[in-house]
Amino acid sequence: MIHGIPIQYFLIVSTIMFFVGVCGFIIRRNLITILMSVELILNAININFLVFNRYLFPHQLQGNFFALIVVAVAAAEASVAIALFINMYRRFNNIDVENISEMKY
């Protein structure tokens, strides 16, 4: 229990983070920015996990571990994605999501 800070504050922050991430994911064309947006979404979720765990079930650890798993997955995902982006950059000389359509048809 964190004194003086009600749960809504945390939730508002995480919601803003989440929708900023979603908007970034939809709007931005640069793949790295999109990846960053995805990280933002994941971290918004993490905040929710931690906050709900802390406020609702303070003596249990499921939320914390879920957050850890998400961080691990996000790290793995980021490494794979960036490896892909580097290859794309070498191949096409840019990483704009709309231009990479070679394998589409």
Binding site: V22, F25, I26, V97, K104
Partner: protein, 639 residues
């Protein structure tokens, strides 16, 4: 009983010749192709003569009546248990007679063509089509079944089309071929509807059932009526339309003069001796039905025949193209045959018209084929069809001159040549039954003598025309058929048709009545005399007469403007008004609705295709938007 099964070869040999010449002809030398075709036909001819000998003389009439024989019969299509189409060989006096006539004339034309078509690039093609035509015509006459006859009608129409269009580089020939095909095909539609009517009510296609003299199967047709006439009359009229199209009877005569664009042997074989008598043969074949079940239709037949013969004879006087004169003369003579059938009764002496018609068919085949082949010989010599380019040819072409003279005397009805005997029987039959038709026929006899003599005197006597090179007599392959046919034209009149081909198959006594014969000889001589006065020496009297007649002459020269009338009806009325509106409906309504459906589907698919853009962010957007909408919906619903 004699086994006539071999008669099937009479028909099949020309078919094989067609296939062989059609497939391998191009690899053969011209002369080989011609000789092969002629040899095949020679075999058919011999077989036909053997058949005729056995049928008419060896077996002869049983109890005074010639029996019809079904020599060969296979079931081809069975629609129901009773309604079946058979193919086969049906022999009775008229079909045996036709076999002899067709194979004889066809053989002569084959031999003649070897000379006439020499050097033509389509020589082999010509001979293969000639064989196809002979096959089709024989197939038609031996029809055991009305559907077989219909198939034969279509086949002769097709081969006629192919042969008229032989010189397919010439636009006129192509137009003539199309015209012939379309007009006859149009008429065959009537024939087909007639067949459907007959078979619907009687439940059979078989000639042995239809024409056995027992009228009970037609009871249903006679009882039913449509627009004030009973169905049998309608059916027979429709069948007659089919015959009229093939026989070029008024008003379906327009294709025959144009058909002269084909090579001359084709004109002789198809458009004079054989195919154009298919209609006469059809009426003769169904004669018993016409006479007993549909006397009104037979009346129409008689008047159509009489009118055609008069109409064509008048036009023939004014024409200048030698082949067109002969074509109109053919029309006129076919009118004779048809009117003889129309006025004929049934059985014994009553059936003299029927006998006369078949008699005239035979003699006409001889002398008209001879006239055409003679004309071909003249055209071959001077390379022109126009009467005005000819004159004084008797010195250059003695054989053509003599044979042509025999044919002219024969068609004019001068005894003892064949045309006299058959024409006399026709006039006798017409005199017995209908005085109007009789007088018109006598007039036609005079006109025939006049225009044939005009042709004859202009070509062989008359002015001396200067030719580019001296005309010469044709080679022997062309003159021998002329000589053989001239023997036929001279002596075919002595064949005792009253003992061979009669309406009921029974022999009857025929006698020459002086009161019929003398006027017809008189008017024929008168016609020849006038022609002699006008055309024997070059004079300007004919020109004076034509200018004094003015309008009448011009109308006749233009064949009473029938071609123009047909063109007007087809081009202006049918094409412009009916076809244009149908075309509009088709393009805008039928095509429009179909195109509309296609347009809607296309647009939908283009739009839905955009969903599958492959753009990750678009998918994400839709996913997010959908989720938000769902969330809002649930929030609203479960609030």
């Amino acid at each position: 009983m004699i086994n006539y099964t071999y008669t099937v070869w009479i028909v099949l040999i020309p078919l094989f010749m067609f296939v062989i010449l059609g497939l391998f002809g191009m690899k053969m030398r011209n002369s080989l192709a011609g000789i092969l075709g002629s040899l095949g036909l020679f075999t058919s001819t011999v077989l036909s003569y053997i058949t005729a000998y056995f049928y008419f003389f060896k077996v002869g009439p049983v109890d005074g009546v010639f029996q019809s024989v079904s020599a060969y019969n296979i079931e081809w299509l069975a629609f129901t248990d009773t309604l079946k189409v058979h193919l086969g060989v049906f022999l009775d006096p008229i079909s045996v007679m036709m076999l002899v006539v067709i194979t004889t004339v066809s053989l002569m034309c084959h031999i003649y063509s070897i000379g006439y078509m020499k050097g033509d690039t389509g020589f082999q093609r010509f001979f293969s089509f000639l064989s196809l035509f002979t096959f089709s015509m024989l197939f038609l006459v031996i029809a055991t079944d009305i559907i077989q006859m219909y198939i034969g009608f279509e086949l002769v129409g097709l081969s006629s089309y192919l042969l008229i269009g032989h010189y397919y580089e010439k636009p006129a020939a192509v137009a003539a071929a199309n015209k012939a095909f379309i007009v006859t095909r149009f008429a065959d539609f009537g024939f087909f509807v007639g067949i459907l009517l007959v078979s619907f009510y009687t439940g059979t296609f078989d000639f042995t059932v239809l024409i056995n003299g027992d009228g009970s199967i037609f009871a249903g047709m006679a009882a039913a009526s449509f627009m004030g006439m009973n169905i049998i009359t309608w059916a027979m009229l429709l069948i007659f339309i089919g015959g009229a199209g093939k026989s070029a009877l008024f008003p379906l005569h327009i294709w025959l003069p144009d058909a002269m664009e084909g090579p001359t042997p084709v004109s002789a074989l198809i458009h004079a001796a054989t195919m154009v008598v298919a209609g006469v043969y059809l009426v003769a074949r169904m004669f018993i039905v016409f006479h007993f079940q549909a006397p009104d239709a037979l009346e129409v037949v008689a008047y159509v025949g009489a009118f055609t013969s008069l109409f064509a004879a008048i036009i023939a006087i004014t024409q200048y193209d030698i082949k067109r004169i002969l074509a109109f003369s053919t029309l006129s003579q076919i009118g004779y045959m048809i009117l003889a059938l129309g006025v004929s009764g049934y059985g014994g002496e009553e059936g003299v018209g029927y006998m006369a018609s078949m008699f005239h068919l035979t003699t006409h085949a001889m002398f008209k084929a001879l006239l055409f082949l003679g004309a071909g010989s003249i055209i071959h010599a001077i390379h022109s069809n126009d009467l005005r380019d000819m004159g004084g040819l008797r010195k250059y072409m003695p054989i053509t001159f003599i044979t042509f003279a025999i044919a002219v005397l024969s068609i004019s009805g001068i005894p003892p040549f064949s045309g006299f005997w058959s024409k006399d029987e026709i006039l006798a039959a017409a005199f017995e039954h209908n005085k109007i038709i009789y007088f018109s026929s006598v007039l036609v006899a005079g006109l025939t003598a006049f225009y044939m003599s005009r042709l004859f005197f202009t070509v062989f006597f008359g002015k001396k025309t200067e030719y580019h090179h001296t005309p010469h007599e044709s080679p022997w392959v062309m003159t021998i058929p002329l000589i053989i046919l001239s023997i036929g034209a001279a002596f075919a009149g002595f064949i005792p048709f009253n003992e061979l081909v009669t309406s009921d198959g029974a022999v009857f006594e025929s006698h020459l009545s002086m009161s019929i014969a003398l006027p017809s000889i008189g008017i024929a001589l008168l016609g020849i005399f006038f022609a002699f006065l006008l055309y024997y020496k070059k004079s300007n009297t004919p020109d004076k007469i034509t200018t004094s007649l003015g309008f009448l002459y011009k109308t006749t020269l233009n064949k009473f403007y029938f071609d123009e009338l047909y063109l007007f009806v087809t081009k202006k009325i049918i094409f412009n008004i009916i076809s244009q509106s149908i075309a509009w409906f088709d393009r805008h309504v039928v095509d429009g609705s179909m195109n509309g459906i296609a347009w809607v589907i296309e647009k939908t698919s283009v739009k839905s295709k955009e969903l599958q853009s492959g753009q990750l962010q678009q998918y994400a957007f839709i996913f997010v938007a959908g989720t938000i909408i769902l969330v809002l919906c649930f929030a609203y619903l479960f609030n």
